[in-house]
């Protein structure tokens, strides 16, 4: 109805992914001791950007 839901979903996850990933790049590695040494902010941030981008791509491709 009027609004293509894929646009806000895609936008939100791209923004959240950029925030998480950006924080992951610049944060202290010691922060990730509790997540088994994995920089989960960076990797999950990248995953969210890809997911959100996929939704934005779908909304453009299918009008």
């Amino acid at each position: 109805m009027g609004l293509d839901i894929r646009v806000p979903i895609g936008l939100m996850f791209v923004i959240l992914g950029l925030l998480l990933g950006g924080f992951g790049i610049f944060s202290d590695p010691a922060l990730y001791a509790r997540s088994l040494g994995v920089n989960v902010n960076l990797w999950w941030g990248i995953a969210l950007v890809v997911f959100g981008g996929g939704f934005l791509g779908l909304s453009r491709r299918r009008g």
Partner: protein, 601 residues
């Protein structure tokens, strides 16, 4: 808990999108159909994800993880037996009547098929139930925010005393839900439910991955579990004495898998409303089937964290190590299991004790403790936002169902019939406001009168248990009459109350748990008593509806076209590609569910 700016920023982004969707949809709300039924314009995938997300409230995320920590993988019965078959049934066999009859709500279908009394009974009980459910969700969220000190830092910075955080949490959550539903109606609720669904997956998926990686995968997890039966769903279900539920397979299959599950998924307007908003009959039928796919996998997202929570620090593969592990854990946190803390007496620092004098564990803390255990700042903000989103989707689902049933089935039917469409649109907005207001009152009632809330939920359980018998006979037996349905429902409710009053779970005292009339039977567990109460209610309703229907005059066939299976044209789906055929989707879903049951047998 110390949250940092990145955590607050993630929460702020989410809430901005939630409110933004409501604001963007405001200009499309021109008629009552737009507001209450989303203009019947939702594609199947959107309606399907909203169908599952409306049910993905606090009870699902917090409650199922808690149950996973307490009972193990057997909790998956609430999905693979207690949801999927019913979702397939409503999609294949019931949506043609709900959607095809153009009924605007489930109570309205009851009026079209039966009579005004049956509709009134269902509408009034459902409206009351949704308000209380929304209030309980609100209360649980505020309590969790206080327990985890989520907003302590923010409130301190804003000069708000710590004692007010509970009240601020309730008011802010109520305002957010109010704004986005008031502006965008059901469309806004559905769009936000889809957003919340993806956010919940995004927030909890890393938790499962980190937890499994930490314990050494599925094999490592099963080796660490406090009880080997935690890794099996059906082993031990032959007798109530050999499984943690205290239920035998028949009580589980009939009570949970048939009566309660079909009673909820096939007749509860909260979820059915999402399918009614679909843009075509085919989309409406596919809505519950599309929802069944993620629903089937949900145990891996919410039950696994509970299992991991009890396995952490509970020792390694050797039995002796497990004992030592528990002892070590007990030294760190008396009576705790894994990272599950001991439940404390409200307002004290004394542990709550069970009937045997042992400390009770606070299983509801399984998911929050896992978030705190594994997530660094940043991802913690995402996880907590997902948790808050689950509470809000439950609240919003209840409020949209309430405003529709209030406006169409109570206000338009009994208070002000024949008003203009714009008047009912205005009433929908007002119903949203007082629905939220009543939810806030219910949340405060839960803080003061715990027993009253238990009592209300019990009464609603009595009302819901027989309901599916009424719908089943109404849709598949054209001889069923309005009098039969009404008196069958009343008899079913009475049977549930009588059964509850004459039975008691083991270890319980007479009162709210049952046995308030005379105790003639003891059940091994409260769950067994609940399942059998539902079975009795359903059977009595079924029998009385048939008996009274045979004694009363049925409606002529021409009045039942589109309302009864034998008098309704079957939907054509031969020309659809097989992936879009509801029957093919339904079979695929059932085969996958059967496979999951066998894998985790």
């Amino acid at each position: 808990m110390s949250l940092t700016f990145i955590d607050w920023l993630i929460m702020a982004v989410y809430f901005a999108f939630v409110l933004g969707i409501g604001a963007a949809l405001k200009r499309f709300m021109k008629t009552s159909d737009d507001f209450f039924l989303a203009g019947r314009s939702m594609p199947a995938w959107v309606a399907g994800l909203a169908f599952i997300s409306a049910n993905l409230g606090a009870q699902e995320v917090i409650g199922m993880a808690a149950s996973g920590a307490k009972y193990g993988i057997a909790t998956s019965h609430f999905y693979w037996i207690g949801a999927i078959p019913a979702m397939v049934f409503v999609g294949l066999f019931m949506m043609p009547f709900y959607y095809g009859s153009r009924a605007r709500s489930v109570p309205e279908y009851l009026r079209l098929r039966f009579n005004e009394q049956t509709r009134a009974l269902n509408a009034v009980s459902f409206a009351a139930m949704t308000v209380f459910s929304s209030g309980i969700s609100m209360y649980a969220m505020a309590k969790l925010i206080v327990t985890l000190h989520i907003f302590d830092g923010l409130c301190a910075a804003a000069g708000i005393p710590a004692a007010w955080i509970f009240h601020v949490s309730i008011i802010v959550s109520a305002l957010i839900v109010l704004i986005y539903i008031f502006l965008g109606g059901l469309t806004s609720a559905i769009y936000n439910e889809v957003l919340q669904f993806f956010l919940i997956v995004a927030g909890f998926l890393p938790l499962v991955w980190l937890g499994l990686k930490d314990v050494g995968g599925w094999e490592g997890l099963t080796a660490r579990l406090p009880d080997p039966s935690f890794a099996h769903s059906w082993v031990g279900m032959g007798s109530p004495q050999t499984n943690a539920f205290g239920v035998e397979w028949f009580g589980l299959a009939m009570g949970l898998g048939f009566v309660l599950s079909f009673g909820y998924w096939c007749t509860d307007f909260l979820v059915v409303q999402r399918a009614m908003a679909a843009d075509s009959m085919s989309a409406a039928r596919r809505t519950p089937l599309i929802a069944a796919l993620p629903k089937m996998l949900m145990p891996f997202l919410v039950i696994l964290p509970g299992l991991i929570a009890v396995s952490l620090a509970a020792g390694a593969a050797q039995p002796a190590r497990i004992v030592e592990g528990v002892a070590l854990e007990a030294a760190a946190q008396p009576g705790g299991r894994g990272i599950i803390p001991v439940k404390m007496e409200p307002g004290t620092d004394r542990p709550a004790l069970d009937s045997e004098g042992k400390p009770q564990l606070d299983y509801d803390m399984a998911i929050p403790m896992m978030l705190l255990h594994y997530f660094p700042t940043g991802l913690l903000g995402l996880g907590l936002t997902a948790l808050l989103a689950s509470f809000m989707s439950g609240m919003a689902g209840n409020v949209t169902a309430f405003n529709t049933v209030w406006t169409y089935d109570i206000y338009q039917s009994y208070i002000k019939p024949n008003a203009s469409d714009q008047h009912y649109l205005w009433m929908g907005h007002m119903a949203t406001v007082f629905g939220i207001g009543l939810s806030v009152l219910a949340a405060y009632a839960a803080t003061r009168f715990n027993n009253i809330m238990d009592m209300l939920q019990l009464v609603f359980a009595f009302v819901n248990a027989p309901l599916f018998a009424t719908f089943l006979l109404g849709m598949f037996w054209k001889r069923a009459t309005g009098h039969g349905a009404f008196f069958g429902l009343l008899a079913g409710i009475a049977a549930a109350a009588v059964h509850h009053g004459m039975t008691l779970p083991a270890g319980a005292v007479c009162g709210i748990k049952g046995g308030w009339a005379v105790v003639v039977h003891h059940y091994p567990s409260e769950m067994a008593q609940n399942f059998w109460t539902a079975i009795w209610a359903w059977c009595v309703c079924f029998g009385v509806t048939i008996a009274v229907s045979l004694l009363t005059r049925p409606r002529p066939d021409n009045e039942l076209v589109g309302l009864v299976y034998s008098l309704t044209e079957k939907p054509e789906e031969d020309r659809l590609p097989w992936l879009r055929r509801p029957a093919a989707l339904g079979i695929a879903v059932l085969v996958c569910t059967l496979a999951l049951n066998l894998i985790f047998w």
